[in-house]
Amino acid sequence: MAKYLLLKHYRGAPASVNDVPMAEWTPEEISAHVRYMNEFAARLEKTGEFVDSQALAPEGTFVRYDGEGRPPVTDGPFAETKDVIAGWMVIDVDSYERAVELAGELSAAPGAGGRPIHEWLELRPFLGAHPTVTE
């Protein structure tokens, strides 16, 4: 088994095929989309491949250490940030091929007009533990 992170971007990924902002969908299209996402996660729970799924607020703050005895420095949010993570799903699957297959399914979530969004999702393998048997 290998764990993969499926990253969804607010910004920074190549444009989707069906690239209409959600606020311009019909309410029915929005609920169809939400249903698809929920059903997808529920199905992966049944197959034993689901690990975690979280959504993030669009804006955050940058923080860094500013030296002994001083409070941390904060900066942002930056309106012009090019890459913004919207959320993730973590899956635990048998192969890279299976991970790609699932990412493809998630990307097919319906959007405007009930048609698949064809959204670009970023697939990142976890750096796992060092295996016991190496030869």
Partner: protein, 381 residues
């Protein structure tokens, strides 16, 4: 196996051990052991005096644990001469436990976890699942909390307000995993209301019952939010409403108004309306005026602006909104709604989209995006 009975006995058993001289952390561990033992043994034969049984077993576990610890040899000698456990009933002890678990030295998350475990009798695993954190994390949180309050003596009445805040936090967390935190909060508040005569405890219980009564109507089958005005009111739990209203009326009759009673009064007025149109918004505004007086909270002022919008029209609502800080949570959503009511659909759609961008959870985001979408679909582009 009556899990509800078992859990209702937990705080009394724990308090009995503490009263006999066990330190809180060790007593709490011993009670958890006794609960596990009860789950194993009771299905065969339930004891005639369940509470006495639990105290006996927990006390024995406590002694075993103390004995096995050589460094505690002297304390063992002391507890050995304690009287043998007999039947016990002491609601006062339960009350002291509530105070201890909501002690001001605890952070809110620690107080919540400790209350659910020590008063509620939930297992660490259940609490961890309910709050979506790893079990090891929750175990650490609880043992740190126990250490924090281990020096606190169970002899003085604490502050009821801190207990109520903890129970309110549990209630508002809602529902995830196999533990229904809202129902658990109601159970614990009910138990507290039985142990202490306090109008705000009753007020909180009423508030919880009245909100819980709407639960089935609050979400659509697909999980999306259904706002109050659009809820199918036949799905409201009339028994819970009747109990909530009754509890509230008794509390209000005491003439010691507090914020939970006032909030419950607002909920009761909503519960009283057969349709959204029949809502008595004028009275609701009056209760919000009371709440502003009691709490001076900006969030209350925001809710008051919504009520004013219903009672006196959207322009009046926008006027009530105007002096409030736009950075308040849900301010933009309220502004969007009032503009929609006022007929300014373009502004409303823009504000709904902005509110969705700032929404604190996915359900609200989807709901607000849907509102924006509905208005955008209606307007010519």
């Amino acid at each position: 196996m009556d899990e509800a009975l078992l859990r209702s006995l937990t705080p009394g058993v724990l308090a009995a051990l503490v009263r006999r001289g066990a330190d809180f952390a060790a007593a709490e561990d011993a009670v958890q052991d006794a609960l596990v033992e009860a789950v194993r043994v009771w299905p065969g034969e339930r004891p005639r005096d369940p509470k006495g049984w639990l105290i006996t077993v927990a006390w024995r576990r406590f002694l075993d644990a103390t004995r096995s610890d050589a460094a505690r040899r002297r304390r063992e000698d002391r507890v050995e001469v304690e009287p043998a456990p007999g039947p016990a009933s002491a609601t006062d002890d339960t009350l002291q436990l509530y105070f201890l678990c909501a002690h001001p030295s605890l952070t809110p998350s620690s107080a919540v976890a400790l209350t659910l475990r020590a008063v509620g009798g939930l297992t660490t695993r259940q609490i961890a699942q309910a709050y979506l954190v790893p079990e090891a994390t929750m175990a650490q949180r609880i043992s740190r909390a126990k250490r924090t309050v281990s020096g606190v003596r169970l002899d003085r009445a604490g502050d009821v307000a801190t207990v109520l805040r903890v129970l309110y936090l549990v209630f508002n967390e809602g529902y995830s995993g196999d533990v229904d935190l809202a129902a658990e909060a109601i159970r614990l508040t009910r138990q507290l209301a039985a142990a202490i005569d306090h109008p705000e405890v009753a007020g909180l219980l009423a508030l919880m019952l009245l909100h819980h009564a709407r639960r089935a109507a609050r979400t659509a089958p697909d999980g999306s939010l259904v706002p109050l005005a659009e809820q199918d009111r036949t799905k409201w739990d009339t028994r819970a409403i009747a109990e909530g209203v009754h509890v509230l009326q008794l509390a209000l009759a005491r003439d010691r108004l507090g914020e939970y009673q006032a909030q419950a009064a607002v909920a009761a007025l909503h519960a009283d309306a057969l349709t959204a149109d029949e809502t008595d918004w004028v009275q609701i505004v009056e209760w919000y005026d009371e709440l502003v007086r009691l709490t001076d909270s900006p969030v209350v002022r925001l809710n008051r602006a919504v009520a004013v919008g219903e009672a006196d029209g959207p322009r009046a609502g926008l006027a009530a909104l105007a002096p409030l800080d736009p950075a308040l949570p849900r301010h933009t959503a309220v502004a969007a709604y009032l503009h929609e009511r006022a007929g300014d659909l373009a502004t409303a759609a823009r504000l709904y989209a902005e509110a969705a961008h700032r929404a604190p959870n996915l359900a609200e985001r989807a709901h607000l995006t849907g509102r924006a979408a509905r208005l955008n679909a209606r307007r010519p582009r």
